[in-house]
Symmetry: D2
Amino acid sequence: MQKFGFIGLGIMGSAMAKNLVKAGCSVTIWNRSPEKAEELAALGAERAATPCEVVESCPVTFAMLADPAAAEEVCFGKHGVLEGIGEGRGYVDMSTVDPATSQRIGVAVVAKGGRFLEAPVSGSKKPAEDGTLIILAAGDRNLYDEAMPGFEKMGKKIIHLGDVGKGAEMKLVVNMVMGGMMACFCEGLALGEKAGLATDAILDVIGAGAMANPMFALKGGLIRDRNFAPAFPLKHMQKDLRLAVALGDRVGQPLVASAAANELFKGARAAGFGDEDFSAIFKTIER
Amino acid sequence: MQKFGFIGLGIMGSAMAKNLVKAGCSVTIWNRSPEKAEELAALGAERAATPCEVVESCPVTFAMLADPAAAEEVCFGKHGVLEGIGEGRGYVDMSTVDPATSQRIGVAVVAKGGRFLEAPVSGSKKPAEDGTLIILAAGDRNLYDEAMPGFEKMGKKIIHLGDVGKGAEMKLVVNMVMGGMMACFCEGLALGEKAGLATDAILDVIGAGAMANPMFALKGGLIRDRNFAPAFPLKHMQKDLRLAVALGDRVGQPLVASAAANELFKGARAAGFGDEDFSAIFKTIER
Amino acid sequence: MQKFGFIGLGIMGSAMAKNLVKAGCSVTIWNRSPEKAEELAALGAERAATPCEVVESCPVTFAMLADPAAAEEVCFGKHGVLEGIGEGRGYVDMSTVDPATSQRIGVAVVAKGGRFLEAPVSGSKKPAEDGTLIILAAGDRNLYDEAMPGFEKMGKKIIHLGDVGKGAEMKLVVNMVMGGMMACFCEGLALGEKAGLATDAILDVIGAGAMANPMFALKGGLIRDRNFAPAFPLKHMQKDLRLAVALGDRVGQPLVASAAANELFKGARAAGFGDEDFSAIFKTIER
Amino acid sequence: MQKFGFIGLGIMGSAMAKNLVKAGCSVTIWNRSPEKAEELAALGAERAATPCEVVESCPVTFAMLADPAAAEEVCFGKHGVLEGIGEGRGYVDMSTVDPATSQRIGVAVVAKGGRFLEAPVSGSKKPAEDGTLIILAAGDRNLYDEAMPGFEKMGKKIIHLGDVGKGAEMKLVVNMVMGGMMACFCEGLALGEKAGLATDAILDVIGAGAMANPMFALKGGLIRDRNFAPAFPLKHMQKDLRLAVALGDRVGQPLVASAAANELFKGARAAGFGDEDFSAIFKTIER
């Protein structure tokens, strides 16, 4: 029976850890607020008192924290990961953090004698529950192989991208394309509406052709109904676009269309739509 | 047995007419260069000497001409459609023309006592052969109903959009979204490559998520291989973007992201890539 | 004493004709509404009954009409310019029209045996009164030389640009730069204000450096005071940007920044600011 | 006789310090490479051995360092400014640094009991020599007043903008407008050339109208001659645009036109023009 640690049991993390437990792995867990660990414990997971305890007792530990600050606290804080890592044990951070944070954690883990892999995911609550996430791993190759039996319980597409930082960069690239697509889609819907075409007809035609994709299918109807309840908040999309454009700056890649989309999202954020779904860019475009 | 006329037997038209014949319709055909009619005739289609003869002998005639000039010649020319239309007979122009040309033809047909429908299609050679085109009809409602048995042999999605001109406008909206998506996709690929990510990995990740669509799946690999053999020529895409942005001008819809994409395509055209596939915008973005 | 005809006595035309009269030229005038000719007549100008009469009686006639429709009516209408032109007489159209209209008038004048020059102006009421317009002439070189004594009473900068159409194109190029500058200026003011910098300080700093120009100096204070009373209406600027971007399309010049500015002006027009000054783009940028 | 310290005697600093000496001030100087101090000493300036010595002996010290790293070294390094500041003495950093660096230095100076003013300048070598710089001061108000007699020898326009950081922000705003203007100007020139208009004619017309400004007058002829010898390097302009767009991100101001200009400059940098003048963006636009 495989043995894994799992740190961070929020919406994503608890769904992911559950898939490990259900698949028969032995899982040692920790979460800042202990009540969130109860459901997992009831399913058979073992509770540890600190992150340090988790990594000390497991050959490979996954982590899924809310943001860079939480990821750093769990690693560098008192009774944190660094205090328990070493002797070749593996730490796999699946949180979405910027490349710099990821590299800082990775360097510290390795300096202590541990091994490190970043592995941000593409996909949200539903794929986490279904075990169909896309896992963008980067870093230690051997650790990647050892973590694979765990990854396979959590994701449907697992990919190794190179050195630490490449996982975060891939996420920026993918989300930049997503943001640009949404901007173009919304411009098309707004143009069609102003020209007197029925939105349903536009969605129908796009949905029947070579551009058809699950995102347009899902968001199209919601935009038609002016339903912008957040699945992926607009402010996060704009942050990713900003970071992607900045990456373009660093590597010398001009991004004319994506930078235009970024400004549109920025306008939507300035208009107060930052906490709505990223499809709320439509409201800025149509006004 | 249903009886239809069919004028224009190029790559698209001959495939479409063949589907009518194969489905058991009685089809009267005409083409400027008569040799192209031979294959159809061998399958059982009846040949007419002029467009006029076709429309005179059929309650509903479809036309699929190469461009606005050909569409106008077949309608207004000697022994053309206008000379044979009247008494409520129907003319369905499926050519891709601008709204103004379409309206000119429609007005003339109606003035002669005929009925008119514009019905441009989305989809190219393969869907034409498979009978899976998307048909964007607009104009006479009764004629739409009468043409439906024919449409159903040629397309998988048939839609009526309102007055003559709306079909052409829908095509502009859809192609604008397509052009914008391609620009964003290529910026993502170029950014990824400069950042050191493998193109295959990017395609893999995008192909596994909510953005996955047949266009990215097909073009992605071709772009990776720098294969820009034309399926949809870049200069045509740029023309559609120009017309879509002009439509936005007319109806008061700003199009920040699509206008940026238009300038990128314009740059690609200026760089000499106009006759390559529209995915050749990648070459302008990555340089 | 030099003899000139002058057709069209609106705000611009009457100021220009007055400068000819004041400088001692013999001027024959015509205007659609005759009352506007009275002031000029009181100053010594001779009144004619029709445009035809003006051109018949003068070796060189200037025209300053409101728009392309008026320019065409005066030329092609009953008792119009075409009926009196011929025998090498010169017609100088200083109206702002598109290149196509200008060429249509020029071809007709020449076909009748006359000579033609287009000569749109840069500058509005004040420079017209002061005789400090910029005159963008194109067409017949000899006529240009013969008209020069008249031009020199009306403008401070007179320039011959080539064949008919080049004058209109120069106006588009210049106005495109003007529109783009205004967009960038307003973005700077809006950014500064949001960052907490005093608008007066920004205007002061820009006004003291290498970018200092009369337009920023004049418009800057008006923007600060949210005074958008129209000197050059926003809808006209957007039209010129549209035509300039279309010219770029025709000659193969991508215009990334100017197309972005065009969309901003389009957004301002859609927001209802079309009849305000073109600096009202600020309201769209700052919101 | 007024007494000032001056640290940093590069191209800018030595010209500025010379103006202080020539105006009869008593000036104590220091420069990393001592030979640069010789000319000043010959004119009557007093040499100090370290930055610390300068600030210890003067009520107000100006500094003009090459970049943020040099500014930090002079302040925080051994025998640096911090070791000698205190007892209310004033330190005026005129180097061009980012707001964060400026604030770090300011906080440290104040913590030691000194007073701090940032005062970046707009203008390069010639205005430095002529004493016609634009000085963008921000920080301690009393120090601003005490430094004024010195500022007046170095600049023609001196302005106080608020708290430390506002000077750097003003520079970003102004340079963003400058970059956007240059992009629009170059697009106009490129469009005109492709349309067959003579560049000299375009420059003439723009130079005669309301947009006329010293920058277009100077750069226009150089662009026509394809002379891109660096006065203000393109990579620095692109960096300022990047920081200005980032400032817009922070304060919630979308910058559609300026972001487009930024991508054009980024493209020019990627094409290898980073060390040429910022007008070399023309080469990217016209290709």
